[in-house]
């Protein structure tokens, strides 16, 4: 069933560039409850997005036909899992001829492409690797990447203990894989006496970091784990990554140097003294040559190592700064707007066990101090040019916990009528997601050009109202907590007192639906997908397809 909704355009006088008549085609649909997720992509590059539904053991690709979807007929299934094949991962890829394909990695390490020729999918084996580490079931894995920026598909395959990076050339030939020590986070529980605890496993594989660290316009590979920071610098002449990292910071070695944490030796009059055992490794360009340098903080000692085109000069630090007190953290930010990043070194006052006992029953405050060392052509000034103090005030810790619980409970028990969602969307023609969709009470309100002021990310120190003239600030945690229950979505702040430019009343959905804004058709405006609460058998949904 399809119907056309002509929306009431309530106020558009101020937005003459906005569409004067906003028309949506509404298409209700149902998907089986077994669907685990939907990926929206213009798979066949015809300007309209396909919907790829992931079932427990297969993928179903719903094709768009003139921006219409036939959920009963117009789809193709790819069956991936079977009795003998109980885990696999999939991703999307395109070849040089822009042929789309679903790439499937099975539990035996075989990598198959299901190439779509416009009518059907044809399967081809492209790689047989070692047994991968893939959780049971069908998994969406973002493993097709272009690691060396040569427009050929490369593959990051999770293996025991890390990632195998398989680089391919234009002919589809693979070089020897590079073994990366990426951290695969595994959390397993197979036994518990507690009937409330579930048994099972959670797996998380972090994304690979690819960025140009040596200013040669080629992407390099950075591996940052609990144990080491490694950089593989792409060799432009060989068009390849090295087998071993160009530089490696051994964090275990740093920790051994700093000393082991032993609660036996904790100074109860200065608990924050344990910060002397902490360390940070920051890769950023400090001297303005575009090449990332290394800032290494070990307790209160900050060492700068200069980066060069082939790595880092790790033998001798370019500069060493030492700070007393309890150094909490460091970061680099241009404070004086001279184009060079300055060093911000944050310290915290000593905190004792006595302080903590008092704070259990009474309110308290902790002062954080930022010492700013000016960057002078790649070297930091020996002395800080400025000190900023931020006082963190908080209520009694016991009350803090109960306030949190209260807020959580009140929101948890809120009725479905309170289901309210806001989305940053692009509804007009300026290519910016600066419009706002507000969904509440079964109604979508669209505010055009509403988010121009919000386009920029949260500005530096905006939470304390930072200015270059003021050095002392305060954050009152009590007011932050008091505001939880009355929390207003920051995206809604510019809608105060405004009428929506467009209102869409939906009658066929419960008020508990989830709204997504995605580009489904070719008119350069975001469309909407709404998914409703589940029945026993179906996921009910509605597509709202905009017509220009």
């Amino acid at each position: 069933m399809r119907k056309i909704i002509i929306c009431s355009v309530i106020a558009f006088t101020n937005y003459l560039d906005a569409a004067a008549e906003l028309i949506f085609t509404e298409q209700p649909f149902q998907l089986p409850r077994a669907v685990q997720g939907i990926t929206v992509t213009d798979f066949n590059a015809d300007g309209s997005a396909e919907l790829i539904a992931q079932f427990p053991s297969n993928l179903r690709i719903f094709f768009a036909n003139n921006s219409e979807y036939d959920f009963d007929k117009n789809f193709i299934d790819i069956f991936v899992l079977s009795e003998s094949q109980q885990s696999a991962a999939w991703d999307i890829s395109y070849d040089h001829n822009n042929n789309p394909a679903i790439v499937v990695l099975n539990s035996k390490g075989q990598l198959n492409r299901w190439v779509y020729d416009g009518a059907r999918f044809n399967e081809e084996l492209i790689l047989a690797s070692l047994t991968p580490s893939i959780p049971r079931g069908l998994n969406r894995l973002n493993f097709v990447i272009d690691a060396n920026n040569d427009e050929n598909n490369d593959y990051a395959i999770p293996q025991f203990g890390g990632i195998g990076l398989f680089i391919s050339d234009q002919r589809g030939q693979f070089t020897n894989p590079i073994s990366l020590n990426s951290e695969i986070e595994v959390n397993t529980l197979l036994f518990s006496n507690n009937p409330v605890r579930d048994l099972g496993q959670k797996t998380r594989i972090p994304e690979l970091q690819l960025r140009d660290v040596n200013a040669d316009n080629e992407l390099d590979l950075i591996i940052d784990t609990e144990e080491r920071l490694e950089a593989y610098i792409f060799d432009g002449s060989k068009k390849a990554f090295p087998d071993t990292p160009n530089y490696l910071i051994d964090k275990n070695e740093i920790e051994a140097r700093l000393g082991e944490f032993d609660i036996e030796n904790v100074d109860f009059s200065n608990l924050t003294g344990v910060l002397a055992l902490t360390h940070e490794e920051i890769l950023e360009d400090i001297n303005g040559d575009g090449i990332e340098d290394l800032l290494l903080r070990e307790g209160g000692k900050v060492s700068i190592f200069e980066g060069h085109s082939e790595g880092l000069k790790l033998d001798t630090p370019k500069q060493i700064l030492r700070s007393g007190g309890n150094v909490l953290s460091t970061f680099l930010h241009d404070e004086n707007n001279d184009g060079y990043k300055d060093l911000w070194l944050w310290r915290v006052e000593p905190i004792s066990v006595s302080d903590i006992f008092v704070w259990l029953a009474l309110s308290g405050r902790i002062d954080l101090e930022a010492f700013i060392y000016t960057n002078q052509n790649g070297n930091f000034a020996r002395r800080p040019a400025r000190k900023i103090t931020v006082s963190l005030k908080f209520p009694p810790v016991t009350r803090l916990a109960s306030s949190f619980n209260q807020a959580r409970e009140s929101i948890r028990t809120a009725t479905d009528r309170d289901n309210e969602q806001t989305l940053r969307i692009n509804r007009n023609s300026n290519q910016l997601a600066d419009d706002l969709a507000h969904y509440a009470g079964g109604k979508i309100e669209i505010f055009l050009d509403n988010l121009k002021e919000e386009d920029k990310d949260a500005s530096f120190l905006s939470s304390v109202g930072y200015t270059s003239e003021q050095d002392v600030y305060e954050i009152d945690l009590r007011s932050v907590i008091d505001g939880i229950e009355n929390q207003i979505d920051p995206l809604l702040k510019n809608t105060h007192g405004k009428k929506a430019d467009t209102v869409i009343q939906l009658n066929n959905l419960s008020q508990n639906a989830k709204i997504f804004a995605v580009r489904l058709n070719s008119d350069n405006h975001d469309d909407f997908i709404l998914l409703d609460a589940l029945s026993d058998q179906w996921i009910d949904g509605v597509l709202l397809l905009s017509n220009e």
Partner: protein
């Protein structure tokens, strides 16, 4: 790993006899402990004690990781004098292994290792070197977890007899339910198990509830970073069943996706409700208990006996639980059947509802007893009184404002409730028979490391003692007197140069005297009693 052994209770160790008379009356020659100090890189990771070589002395087992050696199982065999081998026997943990348990499965003396892998369970003898001619498949089963951790291994307790035939069985969590494998061994040299039943604790109501979960999550963030400077952010987000359900390729079209900058390559979770094995009725063997939801979406406790596949879907009993944060299964009246209690509340206001097992079912509409407590971290434990009567120990912390300011201290309260013999409707007395309050401040903060425990009989006289960590970081014990009050002074104290932060009383040899595992900041001391 470093290990240090001292042969007797000399030098750094001495048993302090604080009440000579009491000790003389109660001691069983336990003033001698063989001491073994173990230093591990991961001191707080599991330390298992099992008899691996059949000499009736329990050995120390743990998992160790190094970049060169990968994952290895280290076994320190206990020696006849109560010390342990300083150099462990090492067994490679193959990369397919996700969990390790223990069981007596072969005629060779001692426990075998039970290896849990992605698609099956195997046994391995630690007395035979290597895997070839040693590894034996026990069952094929698709375990719910299929990715091994590169550095650690999950330890499971020894297999136990589930159906009461005196042979160990297996209950294995899988994707579509638990596999109940009963022991069918005829030839002791070749253990065999047969799949008796597949039990799914997930019902349709639970599935729907999980997917329609509108729980609220509290996210707090205190962050220092170059982009935002300092951020203190507290937000409560109400979850939606379709959160993360729709993604785009290439990524980041919608606002929701834009917010998640560091999307992982992969994220996956697979969990099933726990099934607890326990004795819930007077029949032979154990029953199974698990939680899911009834038709009105209330949590319900299901009890189910073991039976053949033909009646697999039948439950013995199911009952909706009252509102409560936490359900604990415990034998409250020491009649051998598991009872239950629920704790409900928040902050410093808690209510415990106690329910007696009525022979295979519970009446959750009417608690057998309701107890209210004003304090934090409320814990309930049942222990036998000197005459064997069930006795309830309740402990919690209070933070009196005046004390907190004047003395910068918190108060730990220990209450003991005796078995109720007057009013049959109640399990324990309406009021505590003894109350102990201790103040902890900066000077004696070490004593807060662990709650006072009435779980163990430290001197082996048949009566449980009050064991605690002193303000000096030593371990001490006081007598629980016949009137159920805790004695003022300790009757023994164990002094080590390192502070004790956690203790466990257990049997590591076959004498009647308890042994101890004491956890320090970076090492662990094992004390084995010597006759």
């Amino acid at each position: 790993m470093k290990a240090k052994t001292s042969g007797n209770a000399g030098n750094s160790v001495r048993l302090t006899l604080l009440l000579a008379g009491s000790v003389a009356a109660n001691s069983h020659g336990q003033d001698n402990f063989a001491q073994f100090e173990l230093e591990r890189e991961e001191n707080w990771s599991p330390l298992i004690s099992e008899d691996m070589n059949g000499d009736r002395l329990k050995d120390l087992v743990y998992s160790h990781y190094s970049e060169t050696g990968g994952r290895e199982l280290y076994i320190h065999y206990q020696q006849p004098d109560g010390t342990f081998q300083t150099t462990p026997n090492r067994i490679e943990i193959k990369r397919e292994i996700i969990g390790i348990g223990f069981a007596e499965l072969r005629t060779t003396p001692g426990m075998e290792l039970v290896l849990y892998a992605n698609t099956g369970v195997f046994s391995l003898s630690s007395s035979i070197e290597g895997y070839s001619n040693n590894l034996r498949p026990l069952v094929r089963w698709d375990l719910i977890a299929n990715i091994p951790d590169i550095k650690t291994v999950e330890f499971l307790p020894p297999l136990e007899d589930i159906n009461g035939d005196n042979k160990v069985d297996m209950l294995l969590p899988g994707v579509n339910g638990y596999g109940l494998f009963l022991n069918t061994t005829i030839d002791d040299e070749k253990s065999s198990f047969a799949l008796e039943d597949v039990i799914s604790p997930v019902n349709d109501n639970l599935l729907s509830a999980r997917r329609n979960n509108r729980g609220a999550e509290l996210n707090g963030r205190l962050s220092l970073n170059a982009k935002e400077g300092i951020v203190v952010d507290v937000a409560v987000k109400r979850s939606h069943p379709f959160d993360g359900f729709l993604t785009t390729w290439p990524r980041a079209i919608s606002e929701e996706i834009l917010q998640e900058e560091n999307q992982p390559l992969l994220e996956n979770e697979s969990w099933v409700p726990n099934i607890v094995i326990g004795n819930f009725d007077n029949s032979v063997g154990n029953e199974l208990a698990y939680l899911n939801l009834d038709n009105e979406a209330r949590s319900q406790l299901n009890l189910r006996s073991l039976r053949t596949q033909t009646s697999a879907d039948e439950l013995d009993w199911a009952g909706a639980l009252p509102e409560g944060d936490d359900l604990t299964l415990v034998d409250l009246d020491l009649d051998g059947l598991l009872d239950t209690f629920l704790l409900e509340g928040s902050g410093d206001s808690w209510e415990a509802k106690l329910y007696r097992n009525r022979g295979g079912y519970f009446n959750f509409k009417v608690p057998d007893q309701i107890m209210r407590f004003s304090g934090y971290d409320v814990r309930l434990k049942v222990f036998p009184a000197p005459l064997g009567d069930p006795t309830l120990n309740v402990s919690y912390y209070t933070i009196p404002v005046v004390e907190a300011i004047r003395n910068t201290s918190v108060t730990r309260v220990n209450l003991i409730y005796e078995n109720n013999i007057v009013d049959d409707a109640l399990l324990f007395g309406r009021k505590p028979i003894s109350r102990q309050e201790e103040n902890f401040g900066v000077e004696n903060i070490r004593g807060l490391a662990e709650q006072l425990s009435l779980d163990f009989d430290i001197d082996g006289d048949g009566a449980n003692d009050a064991i605690y960590i002193t303000e000096n970081g030593t371990l001490a014990a006081k007598k629980v007197q016949s009137d159920l009050t805790i004695a003022e002074d300790p009757f023994w104290e164990y002094i080590l140069p390192k502070t004790v932060f956690e203790f466990k009383v257990l049997k590591l040899n076959d004498d009647e005297i308890p042994d101890l595992i004491l956890r320090h900041g970076t090492s662990t001391t094992v004390l084995v009693s010597r006759p």
